[in-house]
Each structure stands twice: as structure tokens, then as C-alpha cells.
Point group: C2
Chain length 332, copies 2
DNA sequence: CAGCATTTTGCAACAGGTTGCAAAACGCGC
DNA sequence: GCGCGTTTTGCAACCTGTTGCAAAATGCTG
């Protein structure tokens, strides 16, 4: 049914090789042949079959895009950025949703079956070891948004989470808060430990120690239930650093529901700076991850990894910045 | 490098065909051969190469998932549902982001190059004609969330938008609103006209006519600017039906910014019922689209389309329901 | 125009599978 | 053990492109 190389060759009166070479950048074809082939191809509406050519070239331009963050609106922004960046790089994202999948290793075999050129893991809750599996299978991989300081050596790009924790602590202290809390994302998330660490060390240098709680997921509900519990068990805390904006929103709604006003009675600072954080009714003071840069860098790294498989996996840390809105009281 | 059919055949002491047949459901292999092959395959860690087999079978299990709604959080829920449903059906989503792409037709050629088995268009702003292009190219296609009553005949699944408009009008009237407005999504969106139509006819039967406005996109900002303008030009309107939840949120923030209280001074009803609509600080009264069913049906239709390409494209309309929260005053 | 270097071309093998067909093996009744 | 119908098996061709290699064509110099 569809037009093949053969058809075009026949039509143009040349060999299959000539046609193939016309569509292979850098191959040796005379201008005359090229013209004939292109004319024939156009007439017939020919498109080379990527899959067939992948057989010999070993390249599919397919990239596995793996995530399990489908309840956190921030990741819609991330997917938007990733798909655009990949498209610009002429790479095609094969999207894998690991939210419900217990058996993550199956995704490896699936991606191998499709001969993907590389894999991007966009998640902070998938363990770094997960990314390593691809690396060990000889597949270029980069882990975005999932840095942990003690993770194995796969390429990754993220903010410096220790630094983020530090920044949160500095900010809270500067605003005069002394009884502070840490409401982290899932305890097993790669990033949580570093954030807590940075937060703790900075507080310690002021002789303070945080109340520590964890939400069970990066979601509104998880933030809400964790904060409802926390307000019970540690009512004295007057400012919380939340490991994620959506958790922060859930937490704030929990606080409001218990009659606490923000920021008059209790302050909140989030992390991510998703678009929604700027909405009037949210107006969340938060630490911004440079999502655009993280994504651009990740795609760059994956391209390098594809072009130069022997290369050492690179790890890049990007800086984060404070975005001041209305959920923390002003500097005294 | 990777293990091939050949390797397994050699190892198991059988022919290539025997190995191939072992991995082809329904093919004729004796239990003994199958056992030998499976053992050998396991030892070597063999996985069939889908791409190679696609050459002869013409099947890739790849499905193009096309959208341009990457700023509306509702669509993260949609992507979550789609990826899961597709995965369950053993289909792989090749994700295409058309947000920035002016030349939509390029996606057709790209998807053809990858030999996708089918295409799902998940968008209300891509014109029905866009879906038709795939249909005309002989590719099974279903258009989800983009029904328009006068669209060409491609398979599609959606709520009955006329009915949704009707339901919104009935609800507003029942609550005693008489000066009502319609703040639609983009004017060219497939669904907008039907919604307005249903809304209008029901109002007309009560001798009323709505103020009509359109947002330029399905986004918070678009809703906000449209409502800021509308509150200026039609301050007398005391309840708005918004063509989308996120537009409604932007609109409500605009109203609040101008000092109007919700629902005391002005009421809002949205459409979609995204998870976020239930958040305390939003608590949006809205019309729920049965997203789960729309997705499940779409995936079903695409499977049918793949299995039985000659089949007539089906069109299914699902019912929507009112979810009452706090942005409309109670029944008098 | 011959002679030589360079570029272009087609052939055939190959990538990793699938499948129609005929031959081989099997199962079973007698 | 034989004959017959079924099932299983392997061969070889094929799916759509790519590529090494040698032959053919071209360009250039003298």
C-alpha cells in the first residue's frame, strides 16, 4: 500500500541505492540523480520508513520519556517543555506512565524492543537506581528532577536540593520565623533527604531545629492530610517549608480549614514555582526550579549521549531562586 | 550486540521459524520446541525486535497521541488516563505537542514514517478537519474531547456539548439568576459553538439571552483578562457559565480583584471538573465531563479501528453531570 | 584524445524478523 | 507395523532500507 524505496527507484529509473542515498544526508549522489529521485518521490508521495532504516542504522530517534508524576500539575509544564525540546531536536518521545506500574523493569524491556536511542527519566520519586538500569543496559539515560547526592553515577540534571533547603531556611529566619517545620515530599524521594539536610544545617547554625513531616505523595491531598496531622501534633510551628507547591497548597487549605490565616498566623514556602503558584488565590511564596533550563540541559545531555555513547555521564546542578509572593510575612 | 532470533535458534537447535512462532501468539509450535526455545531465550535474554517484525506484520503497536493543551491542568489528568489505558491495551503512545507547531500537517508525515497503528487527537481546539487528514490517509483515528455537531465524519468521543450548555442554563435559572453570561473557550474551538447553542436555546425558552464573551485560550490568564474586560462592559451580569474550569478560575480571580464576592455578588459555573476544582480555595461548581469514560471509549475505538480498518467511524456522546460546590448560590 | 584520479552508480548482502509451502514427524486405529 | 489425516518443522522468499565494494562514469591534465 504505502510507497516504498523500490517504487521510487523504478519511477525515477535509478537503483534503490540511489534513492536511499538521496535521502541520506552526506551521501554521494550527483545533482542530476538527486533531482530525478526527488521528482519521483514527490509525485508518489514517498516517505522513508524510519523503522526499516533503523534496522541497519540502529537509530530510531525515539526517546523514552518516563515519569510517574501525573497528579502534580507542575509536570504538565515539564511535559510541555520536554516534548517541545525533543521535537526541536528531531527526537520523538515515547511516553511511559509508571504511576500505576509496580514492575518498573518491564519498561526497560519494552523500550529495548522499540530500540529507543535514549531514555529520559523525569521524576523525583523514581529511585536513581531505576535510571541506572538503563545505563547498565548501554542505553543513554538522563535523570531529570531527581538528583540525590549519594546516587549512583548516571547523567542527571536538577537543582541543588541542599542549596534549596538552605535558601528556604535563610528566608524563614530572615522573616523572623523561629518555630519552623519541614513538610517534605515522599520520604523515599531522591530529593527529599538533601532538601531536609540543607534546611537543617542552616537552621542548626542558628541554634534551631525543624519539626519534620512527610507527605506520602506529591499531591494536594497528601499535603492536606499531612498538614492536618501536623497542625495537631505541632501546633506551635509558625512556618512550613513544603517540598513542593502542590503539597503546599494542600497544606495551606488544611491550615485555613482549621481557622489559621496565612500569613498572619502561619507562613508557607513552597518549591517549584509552577505557573499556578502565581494565581491570585494561591500567591505562593516559593523557590523556583529553572524548569526550562533543566529540560534544555537534559535534552542536550541525551543528544550527547546518543552521539557519543562512550562519554562519561555528566551531572549538572542548576541554581534556584526565591519568588516572593504572599504566604510569608514581610521582613520585619 | 543485542541477541537476535538467529542466536536463539542456534542455541535451541531449531530453525528461525520455530523461534519466531514461539513468540507469535496462535502459531503452531509443539510444546517440546516451545520449551527449548523459551529456555534458550531466557538464558540469552532475548527480546524480539518489534521494529523488525513491524516490517512484515505492518503493526507497530505505536499510537500517535496528539494534543495542544499543555497549559490546562485538566489535560494532565487526560494524559494520565490515556497513557494508562493505552499501556493496558499494549499500545505505546508517541506523544506529539502541537502547541507551538504551526505546521500541523508535518505530524502526519512523521507519524507515517513511524508506521503508527493509529492516532488519537486529544484536543478541543484542534479542528476536526485535522483529525480527518489521518482518516483520509487510511490511518485509524479518534478525536477525543473535540466534538462539534457539524464536523466531518471521523470517529470521535466527547460529551454532548449542546446538552452541557443546556444543563448550565437550567442550573443558573433554577438558582434564580436572570442576567447570565457565557464566557466560552476560544471561539474557533470545536466545542464552543455547541455549548453556546445549548445555553442559548434553553435561556431563550425562558425569554432570556446571555451576554457572550470568549477567552482566547484555555488558560487562567485568558480567563482573567476576558473577565476583567467583561466586568467592565457587562457589570450587570450576575452569573457566568465558563467553557472550562481553568478559565473559570481566572475569571473568578478577576472578579475578586474587582471586589466582587463569590457567590454573594456573582456566580460562576465551570466545565470539566478537573481535580483541582474540588480544592477548598477553588470549590468550583462545574459540569463534569466523564473523562475516564471518554478515554476508555477512545482507546476502545482505536483498537477496533486497528483490528478492523474497514469499519465505519463511530461517534459516541457521553452524558455530563452537575457537580455542585460553592460558586453558585443555593436554590432559592 | 589518452591517462589518471575522483566521483557516482548498481549489485548484492545484510539488518531482524514473518510466513506460504512442502516435507517431515506425529498420532491413532486397525 | 501400516496407512492416513494432522500437526509441526524448516526452507526460502520477503518486508523496507542501508552499505561495502567494484564497475562505470566523469573531470581534469597534458
Amino acid at each position: 500500500m504505502p510507497i516504498t524505496l523500490q517504487d521510487v527507484a523504478l519511477r525515477a529509473g535509478v537503483s534503490k541505492s540511489a534513492v536511499s542515498r538521496t535521502f541520506t544526508p552526506g551521501a554521494s549522489v550527483s545533482a542530476k540523480t538527486r533531482a530525478k529521485v526527488e521528482a519521483a518521490a514527490k509525485e508518489l508521495g514517498y516517505m522513508p520508513n524510519v523503522l526499516a532504516s533503523s534496522l541497519t542504522t540502529g537509530r530510531t530517534a525515539l526517546v523514552g520519556l518516563i515519569s510517574n508524576n501525573f497528579t502534580n500539575p507542575y509536570f504538565l509544564e515539564i511535559f510541555d517543555l520536554f516534548t517541545r525540546a525533543l521535537q526541536k531536536a528531531e527526537l520523538r518521545p515515547l511516553l511511559i506512565n509508571l504511576s500505576a506500574e509496580e514492575d518498573a523493569s518491564r519498561s526497560l524491556s519494552m523500550l529495548r524492543q522499540y530500540n529507543v536511542d535514549g531514555v529520559i527519566v523525569a521524576s523525583s520519586t523514581l529511585p536513581p537506581e531505576f535510571a541506572k538500569v538503563f545505563h547498565d543496559a548501554g542505553l543513554p539515560v538522563v535523570h531529570a528532577f531527581g538528583w540525590s547526592s549519594e546516587a549512583p553515577q548516571t547523567a542527571r540534571v536538577s537543582i541543588d536540593n541542599t542549596e534549596a533547603g538552605h535558601l528556604a531556611a535563610v528566608t524563614l529566619i530572615e522573616r523572623g520565623y523561629r518555630q519552623v517545620g519541614f513538610l517534605g515530599g515522599p520520604q523515599n524521594a531522591a530529593t527529599t533527604a538533601d532538601r531536609l539536610n540543607g534546611f537543617r544545617t542552616e537552621l542548626a547554625s542558628h541554634g534551631l531545629a525543624p519539626e519534620v513531616q512527610f507527605a506520602t505523595a506529591y499531591s494536594y491531598e497528601a499535603g492536606r492530610v499531612a498538614m492536618t496531622r501536623a497542625l495537631e501534633s505541632a501546633p506551635e510551628v509558625d512556618a512550613w517549608f513544603c517540598g513542593d507547591d502542590v503539597i503546599a497548597i494542600g497544606a495551606m487549605d488544611a491550615a485555613n480549614a482549621l481557622g489559621r490565616r496565612i500569613p498572619a498566623d502561619i507562613g508557607f514556602i513552597g518549591l517549584n514555582d509552577m505557573n499556578m503558584a502565581a494565581w491570585d488565590r494561591i500567591a505562593l511564596t516559593t523557590i523556583r526550579q529553572p524548569a526550562q533550563q533543566i529540560v534544555a540541559t537534559s535534552v542536550d545531555l541525551i543528544r550527547q549521549g546518543i552521539a557519543e555513547p562512550a562519554m562519561e555521564p555528566q551531572m549538572v546542578l542548576l541554581p534556584c531562586t526565591l519568588i516572593d509572593r504572599k504566604t510569608l510575612r514581610a521582613k520585619p
